[in-house]
């Protein structure tokens, strides 16, 4: 989760750096910009991907048992 989030942020930072150093051709700029935005949307999805689950674990007869 965290790894994916950080990777996405890095990806966008690279795009930003490319823009700042004009490494890309103008024709690719639009698609790069769209890609960057999509990756950031993915980041937000990562933060919202699941609901809170509280699972209680205990050991019964030597076996791990989930009480949920």
């Amino acid at each position: 989760m965290q790894e994916k989030f950080d990777k996405n942020i890095e990806k966008v930072k690279q795009i930003i750096s490319d823009f700042d150093h004009f490494k890309i051709e103008e024709s690719k700029a639009n698609s790069k910009f769209c890609e960057g935005n999509k990756v950031l949307d993915d980041c937000l999805n990562i933060l919202n991907e699941k609901e809170l689950i509280i699972e209680e674990i205990s050991v019964v007869d030597g076996k791990i048992v989930s009480k949920n």
């Binding site: 004009f22 960057g36 809170l52 205990s58 791990i64």
Partner: protein, 370 residues
């Protein structure tokens, strides 16, 4: 002379029967048997001060235990002393569990020690201090071994009591900061004799889950005795060996246990432990928006810079065009100038030729006339 010969001689000289005579070994054995079979001398607690402490290379520990008037020799053999959690020193007040027996070779009686508990006001502190020093020397508290706490955990393993406010506080922090992280809760005792083993077992269980990437051990405040289970050597070693990073939030800010020192991160309270483990989702969302703004800004700058470049090219083309026109005009002018000078030359030459012809005419005419 053998024993048999001796007995025969005694019988002859003194008239004493063999049955009425004891050997040294027999009497020593008899005394030993008496002492070891006396329940009042077996597994007894003895209170006193340590003196004449010696630690030979064999690993056994020998000392005397004394009060104001008397002393008893003690032997604390290697097999029993390996689990000693504090260092013995002369002058230390202790409570000893052991049994009285004899050392037959010297006819000494001694206390064979099974367990030693430190006493006095600083007993707990002493035990704590000595264990801390021992584990510190072994490197268990070194920063190089501290595992990194993941910034966004997948699943948090929570070891705490199901009763009390601690679990509520932690869940409240979690709900307010990042409500969609899974928590695996193992409810354990957090004080008393069984607490330590339950916490150790909980750490082992959580280490079996691949999804759990952060563990919190949390307990509210309490007396030094209440927190003693967190000063246990085995628990410290289990925390150290855990593959999953562990955050401790035990007691209040001023409480420091061995578990805190060996943990990958110590939090002053359970709520702070939860804050360390659980990132603030709003902060992360803000980070995403910040990066998005940065992306937009860079994109706009990029487009603007490309427009500027284009404008410069346009200006350059315009200036080249002007220059070209100027050069062309100059060229034409120079060409025109060239043409005019040739015309004048031609006229001058023609006029020169005419004058020359006239001169020649007059010369010829004069010559003919003459």
């Amino acid at each position: 002379m053998s024993n048999k010969e001796s007995f025969e001689r005694i019988k002859k000289v003194y008239g004493i029967d063999k049955e009425n005579i004891l050997t040294v070994s027999k009497i020593s054995g008899y005394i030993k048997n008496k002492l070891t079979n006396d329940p009042k001398l077996n597994q007894i607690y003895v209170l006193g001060e340590i003196t004449n402490l010696s630690r030979p290379s064999s690993g056994h520990i020998y000392f005397d235990i004394k009060d104001e008037e008397n002393l008893v020799k003690c032997a604390f053999f290697k097999r029993n002393n390996s689990s000693l959690s504090f260092e013995l020193k002369n002058g230390l007040q202790v409570l000893i569990l052991g049994s009285i027996t004899t050392y037959e070779k010297r006819s000494n009686y001694q206390l064979i020690v099974t367990l030693i508990l430190p006493l006095g006001e600083g007993a707990f502190y002493l035990q704590f201090k000595q264990l801390k020093e021992k584990l510190s020397k072994e490197g268990l508290f070194d920063d190089k071994y501290k595992k990194e706490i993941p910034p966004i955990p997948k699943c948090i393993g929570l070891i705490t009591s199901k009763k009390g406010s601690v679990i509520k506080d932690i869940l409240n922090v979690q709900k307010s900061r990042f409500p969609n992280i899974t928590i695996k809760l193992i409810a354990t005792l957090m004080q008393g004799e069984k607490a330590c083993n339950e916490v150790i077992r909980a750490i082992h269980i959580l280490n079996r889950y691949k999804t759990v990437d952060t563990i919190i051990i949390a307990r509210g405040g309490g007396s030094i005795e209440d927190l003693m289970c967190f000063n246990d050597e085995e628990l410290a070693r289990t925390i150290f060996q855990s593959k999953i990073p562990i955050i401790t939030g035990i007691g209040h800010e001023t409480d420091h246990t061995i578990a805190d020192f060996v943990a990958d991160q110590r939090a002053p309270t359970p709520s702070v432990a939860a804050k360390i483990a659980v990132p603030d989702k709003q902060d992360l969302t803000d980070k995403v928006e910040m990066v998005r703004n940065e992306l937009q800004k860079s994109y706009k700058n990029y487009i603007a810079s490309k427009h500027k470049e284009l404008e410069k090219l346009r200006e350059k083309i315009q200036s080249l065009k002007t220059e070209l026109q100027k050069s062309y005009n100059n060229f034409i002018k120079s060409k025109e100038k060239d043409g005019e000078s040739k015309k004048y030359k031609r006229i001058i030459i023609t006029m020169g030729v005419i004058i020359l012809i006239i001169i020649i005419y007059f010369i010829i005419k004069r010559l003919i006339g003459n």
